[in-house]
């Protein structure tokens, strides 16, 4: 017996409290699936939505508790340093939960209208959110990859759930193939990093790179390059952005919103954590490459956006150019750059979710032409004003959160002495503004007597709009609290 007890496997200590947000989400997903299997007639949209919202709110309170723990006791890690609990991961947890609440509310009336089964959708949404949280908090490349797959697999199905529409299936197929493609890049990169540093744990990688001078770092460079390509696919940075417009256009609008906001934010979370945390010592190697990516992404996104005539495609390209701004902040390799990137992602999430809430309400066919919005300013002035504010915020007009975000990105770039990139970022904002103004003009400038559309706005969507527009203006006028929040959320890699 004594000998045997020594052989008993002793697992790493697990901080269950820190895992609670993900577990609540997954538990809710299981609950929805279980109830829908046992009592299919009871599980209307209402039950799934309410369960999702309750789970998100509970997880939100847990995350707030964790945040205050981290602020008082410092960051920690759990499960053999595989999962980090720091300001960074909780920042993204809160962001993801906010996106979850908004998407659940938007999807509620959308699914009802389009006749899609709610329970499966919400279960997948919850799994995908849990995956995103894992991605943002992973201290290990393999765990990060698991989170990424959980996020993506949920998304593949959610995109295709509109089974009667061929565009949705095409879109899902495209996303699946290219997503799998990018995953192989990531995996190969992880393998090469493991080969050159002897571990997949980010803490170990960082310590190793800080201590060892390579005689020959080809393997490491190749690994970093492949990881960069993989992440660029996920955040839709040029020249790895080709999937985005088609997929965004074909997917159901709430899912597009989820992809443009949370999937992108989670991609950037992993990006920042790996490159700032683990590869910080080698930032002179990757920063110029990221600068080139940022340049390409900004220009491609804004120039292509003005050539579109489909609103969803317009916003897809605009979402690409917004990834460019975040990359401008990332390439500055400073803590100021990280907090600028976090601030930008947080505010952009609100803008894009609000925009796709409106797009979802305006109709869901595969085509989403600009003409559909003609005269909205006259027929539904409040809705048009909400959309205008969200669009102008994305254009970076002052007194909206978008401006403060751009301002910080520019400040980060100037701090890194990348004046040229800062100038390119601002000029592409002007090009992008042309596209947003086109939508605004379409809504407001109509010939006399023309009737505008009057979409039905479900109250859940109205809540999302009030929240996103209110937050956009609030942060635009008094941004101090969010700046501090982002500054406290710089990633810290710590051995558990």
């Amino acid at each position: 017996m004594r000998g045997l007890s020594q052989l008993v496997f002793v697992g790493p200590s697990i901080d269950w409290w820190a895992l609670l947000p993900q577990m609540i989400l997954l538990g809710a997903a299981l609950l929805i699936l279980l109830v829908s299997a046992l009592a299919p007639q009871r599980t209307s949209g209402g039950f799934s939505t309410v369960t999702t919202l309750c789970a998100a709110v509970t997880a939100y309170f847990v995350a707030l508790g964790l945040w205050s723990d981290v602020q008082t006791e410092g960051p920690s890690a759990s499960i053999a340093s595989a999962l980090g609990v720091d300001g960074f991961s909780i920042f993204f947890t809160i962001l993801i939960l906010t996106g979850l609440v908004a998407t659940a509310l938007i999807a509620h009336s959308y699914l009802d209208r389009e006749g899609i089964d709610p329970p499966e959708f919400y279960a997948l949404l919850l799994c995908s959110a849990a995956g995103a949280i894992v991605m943002a908090s992973a201290n290990d490349l393999i765990v990060m990859f698991l989170g990424l797959e959980a996020l993506s697999i949920g998304l593949y199905v959610m995109i295709a759930m509109h089974a009667r529409r061929p565009e949705a299936r095409e879109s899902a197929m495209k996303y699946f193939v290219l997503g799998a493609f990018s995953s192989t890049f990531l995996l190969y990169g992880i393998a090469l990093i493991y080969g050159s540093t002897g571990s997949t744990n980010l803490v170990h990688v960082r310590d190793y790179l800080g201590a060892v001078v390579f005689r020959d770092q080809h393997l490491l460079m190749a690994g970093m390059a492949l990881l960069l390509v993989g992440f660029s696919f996920k955040v839709a940075a040029a020249p790895f952005h080709f999937w985005a417009p088609d997929v965004y256009q074909g997917a159901p609008s709430p899912v597009t919103g989820w992809m443009a906001s949370i999937a992108k934010a989670a991609g950037f979370a992993a990006f920042l954590r790996v490159f700032f945390g683990a590869f910080g010592a080698h930032n002179a190697d990757w920063s110029p490459v990221v600068a080139v990516l940022a340049f390409l992404t900004l220009v491609t996104g804004s120039v292509m956006a003005i050539l579109q005539s489909d609103v969803k495609r317009m916003l897809a390209f605009s979402s690409i150019s917004h990834a460019g701004y975040v990359l401008v902040a990332v390439q500055s390799t400073a803590d100021g750059g990280t907090s600028a990137a976090l601030f930008y992602l947080f505010t952009y999430t609100f803008m894009v979710l609000g925009s796709f809430a409106i797009i979802g309400a305006m109709g869901a066919d595969g085509e989403h032409p600009l003409d559909r919005y003609a005269g909205l300013g006259r027929s539904r002035p409040v809705l048009a004003m909400a959309f205008t504010i969200l669009l102008l915020a994305q254009a970076g007009v002052p007194l909206t959160s978008g401006f403060v975000g751009k301002f910080q990105v520019i400040a980060a770039a100037v701090g890194h002495r990348s004046y040229l990139l800062a100038a390119v970022a601002m000029l592409s904002a002007v090009i992008g503004a042309f596209m947003y103004l086109r939508i605004v003009m379409t809504m407001y400038v109509v010939d006399d007597g023309a009737e505008g559309p009057s979409p039905t706005l479900h109250w859940t969507v109205a809540i999302v709009l009030i929240g996103t527009v209110g937050f956009t203006l609030l942060v635009g006028i008094v941004p101090q609290f969010l700046i501090e929040f982002a500054e406290d959320a710089v990633p810290v890699l710590i051995r558990g």
Binding site: F407, V414, A429, L437, M441, Y444, E487
Partner: protein, 530 residues
């Protein structure tokens, strides 16, 4: 008696503690919110309610003018509140002799325009946008923090864009977008420059966006300062607009509704010249001196080019728009001549241009209301049908030409006299612009008001009392400033002198010493005779 004492007490208290400049900015915003919350069933209430709020702001700007101490070169009524401490940004507002009259102008124009011009549809959003435009313009003229200035400088685009797009004429979509994109493109690089100036001047004292503080630090190297100046200048050159960046202006002016044109001409163009003074000359004295020949040249080109192109216009509103290009060129010449008189004249001319061009746009708008056309060739002989209208038009036109006795003369004369000392050839060429202004305006007047009236021209109704009353303040200002500009110049001069002294301290520029009076010694003369 007691009431007077109470009022005096309040006045003395408020002068020291009440943040009147913040109130000036916020009252129109409040007004816009109130107008938005008014019931849609009462469309006739919108403009009067809006005008009340705009008038309160105007009254406060007059109060500031009354309380302004005229021999103080520094900023008065200053107010600093911490805004975004994480980035070193404060809500810092203040007023000096350079901004004082522009603030008063902004205050007075908006209520007049609100009451004078009927939007014909959607009066609620129209009123709200005009009020926000007023608030943003106030903010831009009062801001002493670069971040705050940039916010205000950009935010005024939105109401103007909406006004052009919502209430403009046939090509409004194109004009509004062009206006927005042009101006935004200009300010894009300015934002990079703002951040660069603040970051590079940070040093040990920490980052700040405070204009006064940055102007004192002067921490940038010569080349960096010049680059930053160019980025600032580009934004303002587009806003003024200075040739060759002016192409948005005729479109925007022509397509904008009358109220938009008036505010655009009277207030928003001044943001450009004001920005050159406050942020160009004040923050980058050396770079301003370095670039002065180029900018003065562009200004003079604008004077001549604007006048020539205005002569050839077939559209009355476009003609006035090009005359703006010419007038603003004068102001730019005055600014970059760096003498007390030229700068004084430039600032005075900003006010003058606001009055005369604003009134011209109002008159053209009234003519359009009557005739539904702006084409010069479709109008003739209006004088006989509408003599009072023609009379008002004559006064405003003569002011715009710069006839002595009216305000335009004083400003142009000061600019010419002041610039002659430092930029002789530029001044001589610009002076011909005065003659050209007479040419295009008188010719247009002749074609529209003289000649053989057709039947429709005969039927053109004359000014109503209401329209006359809206124009009266403009006419009063035009005549008053023409005869007695001293109150304005007294308040402008200390600030201008301080600015030139600042430039002299931080660059190798020296203003020409006043010519020594020639003392004729008669004895000596007679002695020589012998």
């Amino acid at each position: 008696m007691g009431a007077v004492a109470v009022i005096e007490l309040l006045a003395s208290q408020s002068a020291s503690s009440f943040p009147v400049l913040n109130a000036i900015i916020l009252v129109p915003v409040l007004g816009a919110l109130v107008v938005v919350l008014l019931p849609n069933s009462r469309p006739e209430m919108m403009r009067p309610v809006g005008a009340v709020f705009a008038s309160i702001a105007a009254a406060m700007s007059l109060y500031v003018m009354a309380q302004f101490s005229s021999h103080d070169a520094g900023f008065q009524f200053e107010s600093i509140q911490s805004w975004i401490p994480a980035l070193g940004i404060n809500w810092h507002v203040g007023i000096d002799g350079i901004s004082l009259w522009l603030v008063v102008l902004t205050g007075l124009i908006t209520p007049i325009v609100l009451l004078a011009v009927d939007p014909h549809h959607e009066p609620k959003s129209y009123t709200a946008w005009l009020l926000l435009l007023q608030a943003g313009s106030f903010g831009a003229f009062l801001a002493l923090d670069l971040f705050l200035f940039f916010v205000m400088f950009e935010i005024v685009l939105v109401p103007m864009y909406m006004l052009i797009g919502g209430w403009g004429y046939e090509d409004r979509r194109y004009a509004a977008t062009k206006f927005f994109i042009y101006t935004m493109a200009g300010s894009a690089l300015m934002l990079v420059a703002i951040v660069s100036v603040a970051t590079l001047s940070a040093g040990e004292q920490g980052i700040t966006f405070d204009v006064v503080e940055l102007a004192q630090r002067q921490a940038l190297s010569t080349n960096t300062a010049r680059l930053c100046f160019l980025a600032f200048a580009l934004a303002f050159v587009i806003k003024v607009p200075i040739f060759p960046m002016h192409t948005w202006l005729p479109d925007a002016h022509t397509q904008a509704p009358t109220a938009g044109s008036v505010v655009l001409a009277a207030v928003m163009l001044k943001l450009g010249t004001y920005g050159l003074l406050r942020f160009g000359l004040y923050l980058f004295p050396e770079a301003s001196v370095w670039s002065a020949p180029t900018l003065a040249t562009l200004g003079v080109i604008g004077v001549i080019y604007g006048a020539i192109v205005a002569t050839m216009q077939k559209d009355l509103k476009r003609l006035v728009a090009y005359s703006s290009v010419a007038h603003m060129g004068f102001i730019v010449l005055g600014i970059f001549a760096f003498t007390t008189q030229s700068l004084e004249g430039g600032i005075l001319q900003m006010v003058n241009h606001g009055l005369s061009t604003g009134a011209l746009f109002l008159l053209v708008g009234m003519l359009y209301e009557r005739r539904k056309t702006r084409a010069i060739e479709e109008l003739s002989g209006i004088q006989s049908a509408a003599p009072i209208f023609a009379g008002f038009f004559t006064i405003v036109m003569l002011s715009s030409i710069g006839v002595p006795g009216l305000n335009g003369f004083v400003g142009e004369f000061l600019v010419l006299i002041g610039s002659y000392e430092t930029r002789r050839w530029w001044t001589i060429i610009a002076a011909t612009g005065v003659i050209l202004a007479a040419l295009y305006l008188l010719w247009a007047y002749q074609r529209v008001f003289h000649g053989e009236p057709t039947a429709t021209d005969e039927a053109t109704p004359d000014l109503t009392l209401r329209e006359g009353l809206t124009l009266a303040p403009f006419i009063a200002g035009i005549i008053f400033l023409g005869i007695y500009p001293k109150p304005l110049l007294d308040r402008i001069e200390p600030a201008v002198d301080g600015l030139i002294a600042h430039i002299e301290n931080h660059s190798d520029y020296e203003r020409p010493s006043p010519a020594a009076p020639v003392i004729v010694d008669h004895n000596q003369l007679s002695g020589d005779d012998h």
